[in-house]
């Protein structure tokens, strides 16, 4: 075991996959010589050369489009979008192209690509370096969307994404990159796409969360247990599309009280899908209305700190929502 943070775990997964399979390569803006603006790909160009750790021109549609072309000609590319905020120029290649190759060719052409995109609010990030855009993609059959939060799952999930025969969008919360270290196995392992993880068992309420707010939710859950004896079950979806419906529903049925949290704009977000699912499939088990927390419907987090803090559901807000639900 090695103690690694999220950023290092992602780096390690890339490095190990590139060592194990010579068709695996990375491409994107500044990923080669500079090692990525967050240093996720640091050292990969030294080890694998400028072709397999390839600096591309600044052109997102090209990055994803050429990754598609690489993949249909035998490669397993991992494309980096420097910030999730800059994914719209590549939207067409992801949604209309990568996601549909397999279906539209009746199974003849598949697209084994991984697209990594750092997302989420960071101080100073403001409108164009802080967005959570996952919902745009969680309505697109043919795509898989994953968003791990902790190093251990991130490493195993990235390996699964690279080995998956389908296009996988891999979202990394920037603020979680260095937030926490944990033991990460050094031997080869994968975490399956499509399976949620229960981080904390509990009988009283279910909280589903991912990204920075998952860290917050886990802290609050611990606090509520100590102070009020309220035991929250905390579930991380890991895969946002297609969702692990069973795990989410089992937990909702067990506790009868359901809260979903993310830092994406609340309307139409991935938590809305979970809420609809629980309301329909667990109605008879519910003891309280299904609740959600998310960002207000404004374009993104602002630059100035007080406005930024108002964007992401914080510990106080999450605590009051969990308490309200528990006491309902």
């Amino acid at each position: 075991m090695a103690v690694r943070n999220l950023l290092q775990a992602i780096h390690d997964a890339l490095e190990e996959e590139m060592r194990a399979d010579e068709t695996v390569m990375i491409l994107g803006e500044d990923v080669g010589r500079a090692g990525g603006v967050f240093r996720v790909t640091e050292g990969l160009q030294e080890e694998f050369g400028p072709d397999r750790a390839l600096d591309t021109p600044l052109a997102e549609s090209l990055i994803v489009g050429s990754a598609i072309g690489l993949s249909v000609n035998g490669m397993r590319p991992v494309a980096e979008i420097q910030f999730a905020d800059f994914i719209p120029p590549a939207f067409d290649q992801i949604v209309s192209e990568a996601a549909r190759f397999y279906y539209r060719s009746n199974g003849a052409w598949n697209v084994p690509i991984t697209i990594r995109a750092p997302y989420g609010v960071v101080p100073g990030g403001a409108l164009y370096h802080s967005q959570s855009v996952e919902a745009y993609f969680c309505n697109t059959p043919g795509l898989k969307v994953v968003a791990p939060t902790f190093p251990k799952e991130a490493k195993g999930l990235l390996k699964s994404a690279i080995r998956d025969p389908n296009p996988v969008l891999f979202f990394e919360h920037k603020r979680c990159y260095r937030l926490l270290k944990e033991d990460v196995p050094e031997e080869d392992y994968t975490v399956p796409i499509g399976e949620a993880k229960i981080h904390r068992e509990g009988e009283d309420i279910t909280v589903v969360a991912y990204g920075l707010v998952l860290h917050t939710a886990l802290e609050v859950a611990k606090k509520l247990s100590g102070e009020h004896g309220i035991e929250a079950e905390v579930v991380e979806p890991l895969t946002l599309y297609p969702l692990d419906r069973e795990t989410i529903l089992d937990s909702a049925r067990k506790t009868g009280k359901f809260l979903a949290i993310s830092e994406a704009n609340i309307t139409g977000s991935v938590t809305a899908e979970m809420a609809a699912l629980v309301a329909r499939e667990a109605f008879e088990w519910l003891d309280a209305p299904v609740m959600r927390l998310g960002a207000p419907d404004i374009p993104a987090a602002a630059f100035a700190r007080p406005m930024m803090d108002a964007f992401v559901p914080d510990a106080a807000l999450i605590e009051s929502a969990m308490l309200e639900l528990a006491r309902y």
């Binding site: 090209l62 489009g65 990754a67 249909v72 192209e97 549909r100 539209r104």
Partner: protein
Amino acid sequence: MYRAMLLARRTDERMWILNRQGRAAFVISCQGHEAAQVGAAYNLRPGYDYLYPYYRDFAMTTVLGQSARDHLLSLLGKKEDPNSAGRQMPGHFSSRELRIVTASAPVGVQYPQAVGSALAFRLRGEDGVVLVSGGEGSTSEGDWHEAMNFAGVRKLPVVFLVQNNAYAISVPEELQVAGSIAKRAEGYGFPGVAVDGNDVLAVYEVAKEAFGRARRGEGPTLIEAKTYRLTAHSSDDDDRRYREREEIEEWRQKDPILRFERYLFEVGLLDEEKKEEISAQIKAEIDEAVEYAEAAPFAGPEEALERVYAEA
């Protein structure tokens, strides 16, 4: 070459008849483009080089080996349609065996994909070439420029073929393209050639040069084949709203098939008897294809739910 051009033309004409009879829902045509397509595609090694076609590249896919039957099955959306088993509209070509990469409807998206496949050849040190094709309207899209730039930066083995037929639906070239398409290549650091797209041998020559360059590791080439589409944009389009009949008549005089036929007669490679024979063969092939395709079954509704995700 002559046979491929004629087969594409006659099949295409039959598809319009079926459409006007209400037996086919949609046709998009290659008529007028046969020389540009056949001349270029003759340089491909089927099953090895990659082709990223656009919706008019019927004659190209014919060169690679798709038959009249394949095209008719696709026209009618039957289960046996090799392109998509009836999932896509006609004109969205695909064949894994022939390395025709599944085509899309949004214009221009094929260019970045094509340079990616060219990069894969380069990374493995293979001499494969990628041919990617589109109309002049597609050169207005950002994807075209992004792909041209990357191909130039990395000297990739890709041949860009722009079939300039002077219209993007109704918008004429003057309102679509600033300056010259062929000359743009220079700005991306590689050669661009304009060629008479109605002269199959001229297109073949410049394409041969371009494929040679690509195979020798000398990088991409842009070919602008100047041609004309003899039909409306598609069976849903009424081109009387935006172009004069006289203009089409003028271009009919330059029909690439008649032109090649005259040449073949002149050099003694074709005579009336041989011509009749080829025509009769083609007609029989198309008749058989129509009959077969009309009788062929559709995929069942349950199949619409399948093959969304590839299994490991």
